[in-house]
Subunit: 341 residues, 2 copies
Amino acid sequence: MSRKPRLRSGSGVTMHDVGLAAGVSAITVSRALHSPERVTPALREKILQVVEQLGYVPNRSARQLASARSHTVLVLIPSLSNTVFIDALAGIESVLQPAGYQMLIGNTHYSDSEELALLRAYLQHSPDGLLVTGLQQAEAFSRILQERQLPAVYMMDLSDDGRPCVGLSQEAAGAAMTRHLLQRGRRRIAYLAAQLDERVVKRLQGYRQELTAAGCHDPALEWLNPAPSSMQLGADMLDQLLAAHPDCDAVFCCNDDLAIGAIARCQQRGIAVPGQLAIAGFNDLQAAAWTTPPLSTIATPRFAIGAAAARLLLQQLQGQQETGGSRCLDLGFQLQQRGST
Amino acid sequence: MSRKPRLRSGSGVTMHDVGLAAGVSAITVSRALHSPERVTPALREKILQVVEQLGYVPNRSARQLASARSHTVLVLIPSLSNTVFIDALAGIESVLQPAGYQMLIGNTHYSDSEELALLRAYLQHSPDGLLVTGLQQAEAFSRILQERQLPAVYMMDLSDDGRPCVGLSQEAAGAAMTRHLLQRGRRRIAYLAAQLDERVVKRLQGYRQELTAAGCHDPALEWLNPAPSSMQLGADMLDQLLAAHPDCDAVFCCNDDLAIGAIARCQQRGIAVPGQLAIAGFNDLQAAAWTTPPLSTIATPRFAIGAAAARLLLQQLQGQQETGGSRCLDLGFQLQQRGST
DNA sequence: GTGCCAGATGTTAGCGCTAACAAATCGGCG
DNA sequence: CGCCGATTTGTTAGCGCTAACATCTGGCAC
């Protein structure tokens, strides 16, 4: 009258089974797989053969439970529909995958509270570290990280408080594009923005600085819309802007989506670009090179940012707590001048 | 001389601790959290309070190990940089997240062998089910699914072999667009394709059928390039096509990326669209509405496909093995006629 | 031969949780 | 008043793996 055996997950072959078949104990199998240098080469070879033969698949939960390390990294991004973050994700994947780390993706929908909720939810997986977009999280967020001693690397921006980060100066990039427009002789330069996340605001600050320095800053030319960014919105905002300020001679859009909508609307309305109106975007999405005229924009190294951030995090996880040197990596940006300016 | 306590992962608060503080046993805490109906409301309330107070976070690995269920779904998509799959991903997320399921994302890079390798690697997480893009996997792939009795739902296409799937008839969609071009009076209709995955090939089949039926199929007008799809490639392929076949009067691109490149190149070369050449795309990406002229294309319900596939999988996981009725869901498509045709 | 050390392998226990069974509790009814 | 069944809670064991310690082996110095 023995009790029912439990349901086995996976293939049912355990490390113990492999050991049995290879004539060793389970722990030796574990070592053969995860710290090869602690097992005689011949024995290791034999064990690997048996693993192959039995189709053994290690159980990650058991490993995690026993070792208190999950080999998992939580990645928080504001949106799945914005290519910018997907590119960074690809960069992260390219580093974590080969290193044997699992990537958990959390979509915060640009919301601090959702971000916090996601962090709480994903703590159940006890990630070894975090990759976070941006620097401004809810207060409770940083508290949790601190309590649990969770290492984190921040992406897309540069911090001034010692937190490890990989990105670019959004402010400098905003300033660079504004300077470019000034150099092209524009004086009535508008700033069109949507979504209004921290990066968009920092670009705005760069824009303000340059215009103020040049003596032609006009707050009335700043059009900020908290709605999600889209090409439709770019077109609509352009219409509104021109209706209110027909003398405007350049539009700096906070991202390429808005800019593509704006440029298409100009095309529709017969507004000469850049003759009457220069248009600039931000991010250098693939489509930016294929508008009429092609869009001037700021190219950002998203893939590289993701990859570098992942590498930085892995360094921390592997205990290389290099104390010296700032751990802030500035990967810069590049002004792509095309036909629209 | 007691041994060192093991490193604790997470916060260190266990179910046992919660039970202790609430004056109940660990299993009661487990029940309060996961099967509320098995605990007196008052007690449950108290337990939840203690959970909150102690900041208890359940350990998913332990749960998984003990219950042989991972509450995890593996999602395999061919690419992260193609919006089509990201949209589906968003749909999947919208269903799995609220249901308490974790989504593991595997990027197959359009490769059968990588897909198989990913499946093998992710088996370590013992996913409860799979969401797979397309129907054509390596042979070993299906064998593994069968061996482990892993439920899977296939996305983006329709099967004819009884496998549960959610998508649309790629063939019918290809045919519909071709029919549309024929109705607009075109006779020399080219098919421009890249990446050449199974969906692209099926659209090609639909295209062939319609043209053959109309008596104007010319294999020389099929331009198939295995390289990854991009706007640049679309522009290049258009040039090559027109150099070889100046009499061509319509181009059906297998996706919007190619079409956007092609339409931009026409603009650059002064080729009248649709006057001299009609151009059509596939998928209805956001940018398709903002080219000059706006691109005619086939709108596909990607988000809905992802969501429906996830729901279908959850049904299977929750044991509702409804035997009756096909489990193939055709969510259709819509022809978006715009200025380019 | 003895002692010793380094390296290879094994033993034991326990990570945190839940399935299965066991016990306690309660209300209602003969 | 005691017995029944239903409901609520507890006990026990074990999921598969690995940290820590224990043991074994062989080689080498003296």
